[in-house]
Subunit: 300 residues, 2 copies
């Protein structure tokens, strides 16, 4: 399973980065191959200063070895080895009318001292963070997510959409990071879902990503915008940074376990502003976004 999924994310990284570079038309992805001293490594691909994408990364990694102490504590195990691989992407477009997107699909195996698999699971999801809210874009993104889910289980969309809203909650601001999508974790074999079934589901979601996002980019990337709208985007990017550095388990885990810092923090936006006590004008488009982020909505 681990080889099959790693091959899958390698191919998906190619598919996604090729398509995004084509959409951008100006910038290309810069590739960094890195090795983890304790075992494994990754292929980081970063795009910067494009016509469409101001900054973004589509990264894969596959790491293995002894489970770090902090993770042994987290999982309540001892003397465990592990293998983990996944694809993580974040794209910060230049035009504030184009939303930021994040996605991640991952697979984890844990072993005992003899090398037997004692646990294995999939996780992942994809979510959208608009600066200006086009309802049809939100509905489009969620509809594609739902379609991918419905092929596997009619309950998955509602369940993983709710988990996404819960996970990407900027608690100290009492607002969502964005308008959500899907989030699932610890997807393990059950009577009704084998690991192969989960593989089929997770790759279905992975394969749906470009259809979720690219039509929105194409529709909004050439819209005109003002300096004030750009400032708003940079202020909202500040909230994105706050979420990733204060609340995001994946980021904090990476920072505290000696992960490759530049690959982890490629998720941070290129230009960001913090303005003291910034509040948009009531009933403005900016204010409308904030109202929507206060209470997660049903989009489909």
């Amino acid at each position: 399973m681990k080889d099959k999924f790693y091959t899958y994310i390698q191919e998906l990284q190619d598919t996604i980065s090729n398509k995004l570079a084509a959409v951008d038309g100006v910038a290309t992805f810069k590739e960094d191959i890195w090795e983890r001293p304790e075992g494994g490594g990754g292929r980081t691909r970063v795009i910067e200063n494009g016509a469409v994408f101001e900054k973004g990364g589509v990264n894969i990694s596959g790491v293995h070895g002894e489970l770090p102490d902090s993770m042994q504590k987290y999982f309540g195990v001892e003397d465990a080895n592990f293998f983990a691989c996944g694809l993580s992407l974040v794209l910060h477009p230049k035009n504030p009318m184009v939303p930021t997107v994040h996605a991640n699909w991952r697979y984890f195996e844990m072993y005992d001292k003899e090398g037997n698999i004692v646990d294995q699971w999939f996780g992942g999801g994809q979510d959208l963070t608009p600066y200006y809210l086009f309802y049809e874009d939100a509905t489009h993104f969620h509809t594609i997510c739902k379609t991918a889910c419905d092929k596997h289980n009619p309950e998955f969309y509602a369940k993983y959409k709710a988990r996404c809203d819960e996970y990407f909650w900027n608690a100290h601001r009492n607002e969502a990071r964005g308008i959500g999508g899907l989030f699932f974790d610890y997807c393990k074999a059950t009577e009704s879902m084998s690991m192969q079934d989960w593989y089929n589901y997770v790759t279905e979601v992975g394969n749906s990503f470009l259809e979720c996002y690219v039509p929105i980019v194409e529709k909004r990337k050439d819209l005109p915008y003002t300096k004030e709208q750009r400032d708003w985007q940079e202020i909202r990017r500040g909230r994105y940074v706050e979420f990733n550095l204060v609340h995001d388990k994946g980021t904090l885990f990476g920072l505290k376990t000696n992960g490759r810092i530049e690959s982890i923090l490629m998720s941070l936006p290129p230009h960001v502003q913090w303005v003291y006590d910034h509040n948009p004008i009531e009933d403005s488009e900016e204010d409308n976004l904030l109202q929507v982020l206060k209470t997660p909505k049903e989009w489909v």
Copy 2:
């Protein structure tokens, strides 16, 4: 003691904000008086878009009531009430030749159910974060810190300088946030230092702040700088954000205990950049700063 120290920080807030507004010459401090629903409140003073200070705050607060659960756990106590007050300041200058500065002086009391003081202590410090390193500025800042310390105990400077280097360590980057200064905490009454002695020491440090910082501002504020130097400042400000959101106990404590978000996060810089895998040219001034930040130096 609490009334005396609160009166002191009220006056110090006036002294510092008046002086800094005069140094700026263009912007003034905007004041927000706020109340904490559970008891107490604060006076936040923020300066933005000045001639010298791009963003900064000089805030005081005095809060009291039941000790929040997370703090009871932290201190290993039950059913405790508390009073805490302090002055916190951060200044982000526009000119990259002028360093960012942070300072904080605080006093804490803990009570049992009957209202008896069961514990009390002072804490605080002041530290400098340059973007371009002028050795004479670093030496000036530390010399004034040392002079304030030496009046009270010949060992304080070395001890609290070392604690500052330890505390403001951006572990995931393996570098210091800046060039340090002083950091002390849990300063409690002992045979040799009464609470009044600690009050005298902490106010001595508080009173030294303007002498530490203002001469550096005056010397550097009109130096010319390039767009590239400004970019470097914004990239380094990203490290400042990373420290405050990932490592700073005060910030995280505030965010997780329902503090006034805008007063806590006034510490974040106005314009910030994250560039993937940015590395300055070897032996450049930017590289020189990084080398110094890798190993805390003795400045006096």
